[in-house]
């Protein structure tokens, strides 16, 4: 059976993508941002998920104001990078996992989450920038990706509580899928930022750090944050942090925080990033039992890798 083994949250600032595409990652301003993801890339390389479910939002690329779905699940076989006005980003086409995606759709709709199914969609920086941050810039993305686009552009986005509950329903769906698959859940966007109006440039590190703490230890508290508070405290566009709660809802109540990173700014935004592992790592254990010693050893190395990262991050 398939299992969600970990959750990753990351900002998806478009300028980060532009810095990668224009080869500016070694400039001091950008090095400060990218250096925070080096250990995450190591963690991802040892974790080797089969599928990543990426919760993100579209920024007037695939969806204009003609159609504004609250939750749109990508069930296509592939998702080309969108042209956001400067030509499509030079990143690989995102390969989907239609069988798992349609299984999730069927399961969560019966659990009363009325998803929109998307069988043709281009994906913008909201999805591809976090992939770059965690996988680097490979010729092909190393795993299948199921995009889950959430409306956080038009108010009101779904509530934090609704997002958290959807995460739980997605976990149930994944665990009822018969094939052995290791799934990592991405929550993207945030952290505090406002890019519109006279208050643009707002950053609230205190809010962000408390959010990271609670995401790790007490997510139920975060599900009670009203939209007004997100907008007031974390900026009008900071409300997109509700998407992180879909990721968190798909994890155990108690998780192992293996890494976090926070820096201000990237462009107009506070960059936040965290990696949370389900403590059981049941997918790895089961797969190890079936696949023999090699797989078990590999899993053990992955776990040690994660712990090594954690101990460094905590010093």
């Amino acid at each position: 059976m398939a299992n969600i083994i970990a959750g990753v949250a990351s900002s998806h600032v478009p300028a980060i993508g532009a810095a990668i595409d224009n080869k500016r990652t070694e400039e001091p301003y950008w090095k400060r941002v990218f250096s925070g993801f080096e250990r995450s890339k190591q963690w991802m390389a040892t974790t080797k998920p089969d599928v990543a479910i990426v919760v993100y939002n579209d920024h007037a690329s695939a969806f204009s104001v003609e159609l504004i779905p609250t939750f749109a699940l990508g069930c296509a076989a592939e998702f080309p990078p969108a042209d956001e006005g400067w030509g499509p980003r030079p990143v690989p086409v995102v390969k989907g996992h239609p069988a798992l995606a349609s299984h999730i759709a069927q399961s969560v709709i019966l659990d009363e989450f009325d998803l929109t199914i998307v069988n043709k969609m281009e994906v913008d920086h909201g999805l591809t920038v976090p992939l770059n941050l965690l996988f680097g810039s490979p010729r092909e993305w190393p795993c299948r990706v199921i995009p889950l686009a959430v409306n956080v552009v038009m108010y009101p986005p779904p509530t934090g509580h609704r997002c958290y509950m959807l995460g739980r329903a997605i976990r149930k769906a994944v665990e009822s899928y018969p094939e052995d698959l290791k799934v990592v859940m991405f929550g993207t966007g945030g952290m505090s930022h406002q890019i519109s109006g006279p208050r643009a440039g707002l950053i609230n590190s205190k809010f962000d750090k408390a959010f990271l703490d609670n995401l790790s230890k007490d997510p139920a508290k975060l599900t009670r944050i009203p939209h007004l508070e997100y907008m007031r405290e974390a900026g009008a566009e900071g409300i997109e942090m509700v998407m992180w709660l879909i990721m968190r809802g798909a994890l155990d109540a108690k998780v192992e925080e293996v890494y976090r990173f926070y820096t201000v700014p990237a462009s107009n935004t506070a960059v936040g990033h965290i990696i949370l592992e389900n403590r059981g790592r049941t997918a790895g254990k089961r797969a190890g039992a079936r696949k023999g010693g090699g797989e078990r050893r590999r899993q053990a190395v992955a776990r040690r890798g994660g712990e090594r990262i954690a101990s460094k991050a905590r010093r």
Binding site: I203, F207, A236
Partner: protein, 145 residues
């Protein structure tokens, strides 16, 4: 019909793109979306008022677009991810637009961001009645030392 009052109208310097603005600003945002195509960008630049006739816009909305009054566009239902496409068509960086909306020079805006951004202190509320809520802070620190 006047705009329905909302609790978030109390946030200073902010035009929340809600369902009501989305309805009113449909023409602004569809116009901006059209600028994703090069042929449309050329047609717009060749004759702006003529090009705008293709979209359902009020006189105020048309004026805000022609004058590049970005805050007014937001107030009249434009959304930043869409209006940014107009800025890009004019050859401006996003930082330029942000500076324009905040009334700062681009240099000063860039400096503010490097220094950690605009503080939320003093920028939470027009009425001043809302204080930061202590309950959002966590007592548990997951990182030691």
């Amino acid at each position: 019909m006047p705009r329905t009052p909302q609790d978030y109208d109390d946030i200073p310097g902010t035009f929340v793109f809600d369902a009501e603005r989305s309805r009113e600003g449909y023409g602004i945002n569809m116009f901006c979306m059209s600028l994703m195509k090069d042929a449309n960008r050329k047609a717009f630049k060749a004759d702006e008022p003529e090009y705008l006739k293709r979209f359902p816009l009020t006189a105020e909305q048309r004026e805000a677009i022609l004058e590049r009054d970005y805050n007014r566009m937001l107030e009249l239902g434009g959304n930043i991810y869409f209006t940014a496409k107009l800025g890009a068509t004019d050859g401006h960086s996003f930082q330029h637009l942000a500076a324009v909306m905040t009334g700062a020079t681009q240099e000063d805006y860039a400096k503010m961001m490097l220094a950690g951004g605009r503080s939320v202190e003093g920028n939470r509320s027009k009425s001043g009645r809302d204080k930061p809520k202590a309950k959002t802070r966590s007592k548990a620190r997951s990182r030691r030392g």
